[in-house]
Symmetry: C2
Subunit: 333 residues, 2 copies
DNA sequence: ATTGGCGATGTTATCGGTAACAAGTTCATT
DNA sequence: AATGAACTTGTTACCGATAACATCGCCAAT
């Protein structure tokens, strides 16, 4: 009669004990096919939905995952908002709550696992102290599991496309940050240029469109026509685009531009940016999925055995070159 | 010795029963001050953190809130991402899980309450069937509780600023949508113009920057200098800005532009947009706060009494005019 | 002195699910 | 036929918190 269908109701209808019904869900191999069918039928008939609060309580679990964002960026930044959506989507469908932590107040309150993005060298001191499964967003040298995108491959895609499109000069606009993602992007550019026998040239800025725009305008005479700018972010690319337009350069014929990230920003410029798109949402989902898997492996909590000292998990996503109107041949897309 | 501090531990340390400790949290008026102090002291000493799974289970509650986004927009859209952040922030700090639902598959799975955004006339058929507390984002004629921003006041701010800044012609660029937020924005413009004895002029577009940009470029001759464009979104405003720049108009001296929303987009244009900023994040938090309040009122679930038929809650936030570089006098900010 | 009422506190059962253990079957082995 | 290993199913206790009920002590009214 109650609004809520419990395992008990299912068990009664199937003429088995509550425990058997539970086993059908958690250890199906321990139950005979015959009973399994009966239980499945009853579950369907009653539209059984497991109660996750009860599950959590029985398993001594919080069903809370903390996402720790260490960069000083605004959470409104579409990149992080998108990542967060990906994480949230997966966690929600598994009835986990997501807690977003922007400072280092991660200590308060228990949780089942951590996702950390933007960790720097000094951070690993306290990250090492975390006694719950943890996965990082972004590669690291500390043997931590991580998910990342293949940055080197991304700039390889952009650079070789620029070469194939016939641009004679190809300049890299990088972000002035000592982060490994930036190193990888620059390496992808360098390697591709060297293999093609081209002379590389790198300039770096803080990641604001006004920086790259000013640079373009102030050094306009030094840029020959038939040049492509490989940018390490869509922000820098937008600045380049505005600078070229301001100086009345022709895009994409005289000057090409490629961005990097492909999250929202690339679509609001005019003409629309050719960019290296990261599957940010999928990466968010993946990291959540891996973390949940890790959590169920690690249970029950083994006090002697640190949860983050197993075989390393590394998942690297391949970005994709989206050809649009800031490079030649965009119609070939 | 256990890692988790329970109410029982607190009770033991305070030399009271578990029930008394529980009452200190939920019905403090039933406990003498003396015992209350003891319990508080014990809670602090042990750093007690309530177990929400247990709470949920005992209260026959899911601790899940569903956010139903009915517009066909991308969830990557910064506006919705920001709203979501606001909702998530509040829910997280109260240990509620947020489920984001984009289609009408809201039926599956139980929850404690709904937040709905973008509801249209036809939607109220099924919204009426929801038997859990519900709050809408955006005003409505159906007696539903809602949170919204004061759109009329927003365009009043923008329009009167344009008048004060000395623009002679003031044109409204609206969104071609039969939604009440758009009506309110247009009314705010109209009323302000009429009171000032100015002649209003409204043009409408679908909400893409290319639309307004094309319009500006194609009708360039018809715009006299000393005109300000009051736009119903930052997207349209960006298009206007690009159009004017393309035609070599001077911003803000010859032409002024104001946007609407103030979520991310306003900051990536060059020059930066003057805009009517909505406190979207705060609105998200507020709507979550109201919903949780409503949920605790409504408990225990009263089968005869529909949860959405009480005195109406209406919370309207005032937007703020952010003066930047697309209108005159921006240095007065 | 007995009774009754009230406020403060403790006891029990319960929410829905699962681990640990107990009990019952079947079947091969001696 | 007796023994027991292997497998299947049921029973009990418990996760942490709370509502409902029971109990206790105190004081006023008879």
């Amino acid at each position: 009669m109650g609004l809520i269908v419990t395992l008990n109701d299912v068990a009664k209808l199937a003429n088995v004990s509550k425990m058997t019904a539970s086993r059908v869900i958690n250890h199906p191999e321990q139950v005979t096919d015959e009973l399994k069918q009966l239980v499945f039928k009853a579950m369907k008939e009653l539209n059984y939905q497991p109660n996750f609060a009860a599950k959590a309580l029985a398993a001594n679990t919080t069903r809370i995952i903390k996402l720790i964002i260490l960069e000083k960026v605004d959470t409104v930044e579409p990149y992080y908002a998108t990542l967060l959506m990906g994480v949230a989507q997966f966690l929600n469908s598994h009835q986990y709550a997501l807690q977003v932590v922007t400072q280092k107040n991660a200590g308060i309150g228990d949780c089942d696992g951590y996702i950390i993005t933007g960790a720097r060298r000094d951070d690993f001191e306290w990250i090492n102290e975390l006694n719950r499964p943890t996965i990082l967003f972004g590669e690291n040298r500390h043997q931590y599991d991580f998910v990342d995108s293949d940055n080197k491959y991304g700039t390889f895609l952009a650079t070789s496309a620029a070469i194939n499109d016939g641009y004679e000069h190809i300049i890299f606009f990088g972000i002035d940050l000592k982060e490994s993602f930036e190193y990888s992007r620059e390496r992808g550019y360098m390697d591709t240029m060297q293999k093609a026998g081209r002379e590389p040239q790198i300039v770096r800025f803080s990641n604001h469109s006004s920086q790259s725009q000013n640079y373009i305008q102030e050094h306009w005479q030094s840029f020959e026509k038939n040049t492509c700018f490989i940018c390490s972010s869509d922000r820098l690319a937008i600045g380049v685009e505005r600078g070229i337009q301001h100086m009345n350069g022709q895009i994409p014929e005289e000057f090409g531009i490629t961005g990097f990230d492909g999250v929202f920003l690339d679509q609001i410029s005019e003409p629309k940016l050719t960019t290296v798109k990261q599957p940010v949402m999928e990466m968010g989902s993946k990291i959540a999925e891996l973390l949940l898997k890790k959590i169920t492996w690690a249970l029950p909590l083994d006090e002697d055995h640190h949860p983050n000292r197993t075989n390393r998990i590394e998942v690297v996503f391949s970005p994709e070159l989206i050809r649009r109107q800031t490079t030649r041949n965009y119609h070939l897309n």
